[in-house]
């Protein structure tokens, strides 16, 4: 392992690797990425692969439009097929409040050039065979949203960056970060130390632990989220379907498996990755309510991972007051995977001073003292 680097990225998930990948493409490879486990160990290897532009804030919509464009190109760029399938996302609203929310969101998305349409349950049945229309007030469908296979996204970016000269170290835990006054001088790991003055904290659910190493108090909280996957079926389901009444989402993978999760407001913050019966029961009940024929499909496996949540549901980006050269790139909740391409690109440009983007000021850590930013309300899972 290198003993010095211009930049150390803590976290070898999709966010850290996207940054490394874009830095490398811009010619900057004096970088070491540190991943505590195997590639795909964290949330980047545990998510459902959803990629949507249906959000409630203009910023997220615009960022995701670009991310979708980037995901369309990624397989060809890295030589790893990420199986990005734009089969659309269908949201179901079962009550007045959710319906009104969808209407407002769709108007905003359309203004931003995203072709989401409000459709009836009957129209939705034509898109999703077997959808039970009872209790559905209105739906929103955007055909350009999609699903991908997360593992090759991670592997592709890691390999591409490595081939250009970046170091990606797996099974390497950061144990301390040493400073001299306000300046970082080295990152200490269980495999040796790396001298550096610049560290990017892209550690997802572990970001607040990294912050603690430098006395930076981060408001992130990790929450367990679970997913189940069913036996493979002949392809029949084009979009990702999501029921807003309980945050259920599921889609059919390229191997034919039905895969998805559900929100659980009662789940406390924890770093527990054990699987629960509660999730299985709630998810199956909800899934079968949406498409009753799924009652006959057999569940094969369930797993768990973390959403790295912040108080306002927006990420924490950019500098901190306490330490120089300590860049935050975390707090992406349930949408890190889909935002990774554009966030990595913008962060690379920002770090190399090739571009300024307002998100690095707007979403910095200091915003919690300045006052709330616009909350993103359209979260699922």
């Amino acid at each position: 392992m290198r003993d010095r680097a211009d930049l150390v990225i803590i976290g070898g998930g999709v966010i850290g690797l996207s940054l490394a990948y874009h830095l490398a493409r811009l010619g900057f490879t004096d970088v070491v990425v540190l991943e505590q486990g195997y590639l795909c160990f964290g949330a980047s290897g545990r998510n459902g692969g959803g990629v949507r532009q249906q959000w409630s804030t203009e910023e997220n919509i615009q960022l995701m439009k670009e991310s979708v464009r980037m995901y369309r190109r990624l397989s060809a760029e890295t030589g790893y097929n990420v199986w990005f399938r734009q089969g659309g996302y269908l949201f179901l609203a079962r009550d007045e409040q959710a319906a009104k929310g969808l209407e407002a969101n769709v108007k905003l998305q359309n203004r931003c050039g995203v072709p989401t349409r409000l459709i009836s349950a009957a129209e939705a049945q034509r898109i999703v065979p077997g959808l039970a229309p009872e209790g559905i007030q209105v739906c929103a469908f955007n055909p350009t949203d999609g699903v991908l296979f997360p593992f090759p996204v991670v592997w592709g970016m890691a390999r591409a960056a490595s081939q250009l000269g970046t170091s990606v170290e797996t099974f390497t835990r950061v144990t301390a970060i040493e400073t001299h006054g306000r300046q970082i001088v080295k990152v200490v790991t269980d495999r040796g130390a790396i001298a550096t003055n610049r560290v990017v904290n892209a550690a997802g659910a572990w970001s607040f632990q990294i912050g603690k190493m430098l006395g930076v108090d981060l408001p992130n909280k990790p929450f367990r989220h679970e997913i189940l996957i069913c036996e493979p079926l002949k392809p029949f389901l084009d979009p990702m379907v999501s029921d807003l009444s309980d945050g259920t989402y599921f889609s059919q993978t390229m191997r034919g498996e039905i895969c998805g999760g559900i929100s659980d407001p009662a789940e406390p913050s924890s770093m527990d990755t054990r699987s629960s019966l509660r999730f299985l029961e709630r998810m199956c009940r909800s899934m079968v309510r949406v498409i009753p024929a799924l009652g006959n499909v057999r569940v094969m496996r369930q797993w768990a991972g973390f959403y790295d949540e912040t108080p306002d549901g927006q990420p924490i980006l950019g500098r901190v007051d306490e330490v120089d050269g300590f860049i935050q790139l975390h707090g992406f909740g349930g949408h890190g995977m889909m935002l990774a391409p554009i966030v990595g690109k913008l962060a690379a440009e920002w770090i190399l001073r090739k571009g300024e983007h307002p998100i690095f000021q707007r979403y910095d850590l200091g915003r919690f003292k300045r006052g709330a930013v616009q909350k993103e309300t359209f979260s699922i899972g």
Partner: protein, 100 residues
Amino acid sequence: MGKTIVCQCEDVTMDDLEEAFEAGFRDLESLKRFTGLATGLCQGKCCIAHASRFLAGLRGGDEAAADPPRTRPLIQPTKASCLAGPEDLSASPASRGSGK
């Protein structure tokens, strides 16, 4: 030897495992994800032990590095309609097991 099938559910051969190892996937969790081994209907019941032994061999007898992936529910694939819970489960607090 190379065409010997290790994972019957997903058609993974010894050659596939060796190629994956050469491509840098050197722990069982990564091999599983890259080749699809143990991700089929039997969820590794038939193949994990073989793959683990094979990997330990490739790693010069390093058995600790060939630890099997985490065992997860379900033991047997089970219909969603059997698993679906009652209406009021959503209202009850999340039950938390003891331990870390």
